[in-house]
Symmetry: C2
Subunit: 325 residues, 2 copies
């Protein structure tokens, strides 16, 4: 189980490796949100998403003998790039299992980062776990799960340590912290960090319509599952259900979930382009969309939205601008 001490240890290993991403703001966005809005720009992280933190934390925590054999990860893309970049920096081989329908840019980037890519067909019902299993059994690779892995959660939790430090410097101690939520690795890591460092802040998971497994789980009190594996633009956060390790943390620490539409995510992408000058992918814009378009679901004078990633195909981004900018 991930502890604050593990998050602090991950932060020490990440020092000088991960970027300390800025908290951005704009008076124009404050006006739309109806309160002070701060955006933690993890799209500016190495490999274009917060996943670099978890990848580095997990790879750097491995026994050197195991690490030299290599690692395997499955991912729609951002975890893949994070693990690939961390493995390359540690001179460890990396194999990444990716859905064949992941954005082209994510597949290309993963290969360019030196990883071997194995594709599987999620629309045909193939599972990523089944694709990864023989790689572990036959090649002795260590599996680094995208969220249900204590060291990965610890790495993502370093985002929460930074939020606590950066807001304290601004004199802010109370806020709701909106997190784009797939399996809950970032959400649970940030919640653990803030529990200790900013106990008056509350984490709120944000999910796209039709993929609101965490929101429904928090209501029912047990793990709920999404009906379909695909069907939202927010590809980075389309996981079937909260994780076995992340769920107990989510249910203990998080406020209720917020659900946004794909159109709201695209509108948030356009506003982030216009007002913050950052590039966010649809799944990375979910929290910002909640802050901007669901203000009635949020309490208090200050809201913090984590912009989790920016790995979006140019055509999708251009279309969001055409529709909403």
């Amino acid at each position: 189980m991930t502890s604050l001490a593990m998050i602090e240890a991950a932060a020490a290993r990440l020092a000088g490796q991960a970027r300390r991403t800025p908290l951005l703001s704009s008076p124009f966005l404050d006006e739309i949100a109806g309160r002070r809005l701060l955006v933690k720009a993890e799209c500016l992280q190495h490999t274009g998403s917060f996943k670099f933190r978890g990848g580095w934390a997990a790879v750097s925590a491995l026994d050197p003998v195991l690490r030299a054999r290599g690692v395997v990860a499955y991912s729609s893309g951002n975890h893949a790039q994070g693990v690939a970049a961390a493995a390359r920096a540690h001179r460890a081989p990396a194999v990444i299992v990716m859905p064949a329908d992941a954005p082209r840019l994510k597949i290309d980037n993963t290969r360019a980062l030196g990883a071997e890519v194995v594709l599987y067909d999620r629309a045909a019902g193939e599972s990523r776990e089944a694709a990864a299993a023989p790689l572990v059994a036959e090649r002795g690779l260590t599996l680094i799960k995208p969220y249900d892995e204590p060291e990965v959660i610890a790495g993502q939790g370093t985002t929460g340590l930074e939020i606590a430090e950066q807001t304290a410097a601004l004199g802010i101690t109370q806020a709701e912290v909106l997190v784009c939520c797939g399996g809950g690795g970032l959400t649970s890591g940030v919640a653990l960090a803030l529990e200790d460092r900013a106990p008056q802040m509350r984490v709120r998971p944000v999910e796209p319509e039709g993929f609101d497994d965490v929101t429904r789980s928090l209501i029912s009190g047990q793990i709920e599952t999404n009906p379909a594996p695909t069907g939202s633009l927010c590809d980075a956060i389309l996981t079937p259900s909260p994780g076995e390790i992340t769920w107990p943390i989510l249910t203990r620490l998080c406020g209720s979930g917020i659900v946004i539409t794909d159109a709201e995510a695209q509108h948030a992408m356009a506003l982030a382009f216009q007002r913050l000058k950052i590039v966010i992918e649809p799944g990375g814009a979910a929290a910002l969309a909640a802050a901007l378009f669901h203000p009635d679901r949020i309490e208090g004078d200050t809201v913090i939205a984590i912009a989790t990633g920016g790995n979006v195909d140019a055509a999708v981004f251009a279309e969001s601008l055409t529709r909403f900018a």
Copy 2:
């Protein structure tokens, strides 16, 4: 004349007001550039460009009685927003003289920041100086020039102090520093700061084709003028000639200029979107374009490009992605 002491004083007044913008990088861009490439992301500055620094430095340096009467500035947009935001924070009225053909976003933003906007027609030969003069004479406003103003140069120079500190933290002391150059306010301010703080770095002005007045002036040894006032996508840096105050600094401290095309600027915008997840406007992409597409004009293992601003209309940005991403 701007001195290092003035830049340091401006930095003290800007502390907690301007953002300390990150130095970004990507292995993909290093490969294109053929060397280590660091991008100082001033597009993430308040109001979307470095101009906030100069605006704040100048407004905060004014005598309070003069400041209360108000300020006037002429600008294609970024200086306008910088001065407007700084004036509003100081509760001073601001009037901004803008060309009628400036990007819509810049005009709208300037008004939304509380400034009164006066438009003039640069294609018809009207001059911004002529438009601003009666505002100074009749309303007692203080003119804040966009670059030929010692306190503005000092404010822009704080970018150079940050570059020196951020590169020193990375163990870098030698580099060429590429600056998108209009009238030379940022270029001269950064050169002054680096002369003292990183004397082994050399500033190189970068300009668009047809607007290479500084490049030609550095060759001829005297102030040269551009033949036309408009005609490049890089609207932010289309000034007729180096300034009277900036020119002596530029000729004393800068290496030779580099000239880029509009297409190269757009290609750099697309690569910054893809690899750095930042939004840059055409004029703000000139230095990055030089680093990526004119590597033979650059010396050494490390190049730093200042991405000066991100205030670009959505249609222009989307077109750059369609052509080059």
